[in-house]
Point group: C2
Chain length 184, copies 2
């Protein structure tokens, strides 16, 4: 951020009064521009013993496999956002299930949230952000070609929970030097 989005004058990085962090501040109109983490919402779409994965048609990680997910939009709820992203990326009909994983990625100021979901049909219609969709059993997951660590962790926890017969809520942190610990 170089210019004030309110008045168009240059901004300076400084600590406002009664604050503890540097913000982009406009000395012309007085605006303080806060930047905050973003929520990425997605689903684990299940059909019998298989999971629906999408191969990304966009950067970052073009060509790699992911669970359907994307940035939460203003005006929607977390469940609505996760369902919308799944429809946009895979063109599938799903019934939303429980909150499953909530993973901090502080390095890029994101929190990734995944919900369980049931596929209601095998009709897929991938959107412009998806090269192809694929139903994968646990043995068929392309572990070496997954797009994001949060997807890997969510899939690992999903199959572990399925094996023990109970699905929990998993919190985790993806950070350099930080073990990807989870609490269920």
């Amino acid at each position: 951020m170089k210019f004030c989005s309110h008045c168009g004058h240059p901004v300076q990085l400084r600590i406002p009064p009664d604050d503890a962090r540097e913000r982009h501040c406009c000395s012309h109109c007085g605006a303080v521009h806060y930047q905050n983490p973003k929520l990425v919402l997605g689903t684990i779409p299940v059909w019998q013993d298989k999971i629906l994965l999408c191969r990304r048609a966009i950067e970052p990680r073009h060509g790699y496999w992911t669970l359907p997910a994307g940035f939460m939009e203003c005006g929607e709820t977390i469940v609505e956002g996760a369902q919308r992203e799944t429809i946009e990326e895979a063109g599938v009909d799903i019934t939303m299930g429980a909150l499953f994983s909530m993973i901090d990625v502080p390095r890029i100021a994101q929190v990734h949230v995944f919900f369980l979901a049931q596929l209601n049909s095998l009709h897929f219609n991938p959107g412009s952000e998806t090269l192809e969709t694929r139903l994968c059993s646990e043995a068929e997951i392309p572990w070496d070609d997954l797009a994001f660590q949060t997807v890997r962790l969510t899939l690992q926890r999903f199959f572990a929970d399925r094996a023990r017969g109970a699905f929990g809520l998993h919190q985790a942190i993806i950070a350099p030097g930080h073990p990807a610990h989870t609490t269920a």
Copy 2:
């Protein structure tokens, strides 16, 4: 948003290619400026049968009572953010507990997240955003003078869970015409 924060030229509200929503777009440098919901993080600080509340010294809802909470900052995790806000607003030493409530407020593009927490001492040192702190039993909660609906709902669910002897995770939506349903 009236001006591009990258180049300072006026922005226009239009739907970019491969998008479905209006964004603030700069026709000079090509930047697309996305706006996304924000996370508000807080705690339910517990001491024996009492809860710590803070009376707000700032707008909105100056003078009303709240659980310690505030906007998540870039570079921190959700647990770190909730703990930081509790320290900033109440000056207390706490041990963080489980994720307790996650409440959508789509009208203002916010998601409020509260964690259980244990107070480690009765030393309070309210920050500049807090007029006073108070330990309240369930009977002493100032229900008519609470600052936010998400605080009210979280406290209601907390006391209900405590009465039944088990704390769950509560998801809810605060929206006009929308019952504040929760799933535990």
